[in-house]
Subunit: 231 residues, 2 copies
DNA sequence: TGACAATGACTGACTAGTCAGTCATAAATT
DNA sequence: AATTTATGACTGACTAGTCAGTCATTGTCA
């Protein structure tokens, strides 16, 4: 039935072409055993899928494109994921989990609350705003309503924890007299809002009006903690 | 294929169902002349398209569904719009324009700046948060990157004007001594951020954790203007 | 150690289905 | 009757998901 006498060159050659002369991104070992190779494949698929989903959204993304970008045949995707939908869902989980891990490993609360939050904001700036992770946030906002399970997961793992953490910090700030506005503890969203806006702004309007997110967050913290002493 | 001998009742009946017993929204006349009927059709299509696009996103929305919801045959859509893409773009324009008109018709600046902004926030709460318009904002955030022309339009017509207006208000507040934080004028986004977050929250997380947007905005204004005097 | 067998990861042509856009025909309006 | 407007069956391009077949790797045995 299939009329392929010569077969398809070598699959490994195709793979090498698709990604780079050297294997994958982080790991460099020639990946001897099967399991490792499989994990590597899966990682490549996840990576490629994220790029495509971010660029085109769920519905408009073609699995063929993901496969090509991952340097893998389409069928291979189905060895790792049940279908397009559950691939999207698992993808979000896979990418989010390390973030949650980091959130849990919060630094010991030394120094002023303002310093803590400032450090947190700095981190957020570097790791989220204007990065692939920021785009992922926008993707979740975009697809959330069509993927309740994704929205649920994101709320449970990231939002609710983030809100709770921020609330604890705010309460500490209030107890220490650093924060005046007591009601702020009821709406930690207010503390985070400018950061979220910065994420969205970057991917929608940066080309029209670049936003100095760092400076904006500083001003926002001044608003909450009062003008910063000069040093 | 479709076994519909009797035809689809009357289109107007279907339309009436979709919106209300009485035809269309504003106009009530039996729409005698051609132009009026055409405009009505177009409005029905726009209305239906907005519902579908909000519910499914651009790529996953079927023109057949829009046509059915609008009580119109698919071909009719193409009498009003060139194709799906330009329909989406024109749709956003059509829905946004009245909002801009309202923005331009700002009330005369009487009373304190805080009162002005509070009135504005109240309006926003009623007309945007938790309404179809709020969903439209989310839709623009979602599809913006794939429709630069939509993002451009939205930025030009809504965002940049809104930011400018807020900045003027903030500067007034600073001049009058109502607002302490002078740098706020450089980032009117901070003033608006919680409102935007509320919009997004409603459509993503309201089921998990309902958000009292009104109260949150009040707290945020307290933060900016100082605790509100009891009356 | 070298030869051979078993495994299952991987492939990509293929199927079945979907949907944007078209156009011959019909209805309504003039 | 002529013209404009509306219809919806149809088409062709496109794509999610399948599966029979391939072959590098691993395991087994002499």
């Amino acid at each position: 039935m299939t009329k392929k006498p010569t077969k398809v060159a070598t699959p490994s050659a195709a793979l090498a072409n698709a990604t780079a002369p050297a294997p994958a991104s982080s790991e460099e070992a020639p990946t001897s055993n099967r399991a490792a190779r499989a994990a590597e494949r899966r990682a490549a698929i996840v990576e490629a899928a994220m790029e495509e989903f971010i660029a085109r959204g769920f519905a408009a993304t073609r699995l063929d494109d993901i496969a090509r970008r991952a340097g893998v045949a389409k069928g291979t995707i189905y060895l790792h994921f049940k279908d397009k939908e559950s691939m999207f869902e698992e993808l979000v989980r896979t990418v989010i989990v390390p973030v949650v891990a980091k959130l849990n490993a919060l630094p010991p609360p030394t120094g002023s609350v303002r310093d803590l939050i400032e450090a947190f904001a700095g981190n957020f700036l570097k790791e989220v705003i204007g990065t692939r992770r920021g785009d992922l946030v926008r993707l979740i906002v975009a697809e959330g309503p069509r993927f309740p399970s994704v929205a649920d997961f994101y709320y449970r793992e990231v939002v609710s924890r983030g809100i709770a953490g921020m609330r604890a910090l705010i309460e500490l700030g209030i107890a220490r007299g650093e924060i005046r506005e007591k009601d702020l503890a009821r709406y930690p969203q207010i503390l985070v809002a400018p950061a979220m806006i910065a994420v969205i702004w970057q991917s929608l309007f940066a080309r029209h009006a670049p936003l100095d997110a760092q400076d904006m967050l500083r001003v926002h913290l001044d608003l909450i903690f009062g003008e910063r002493r000069t040093t």
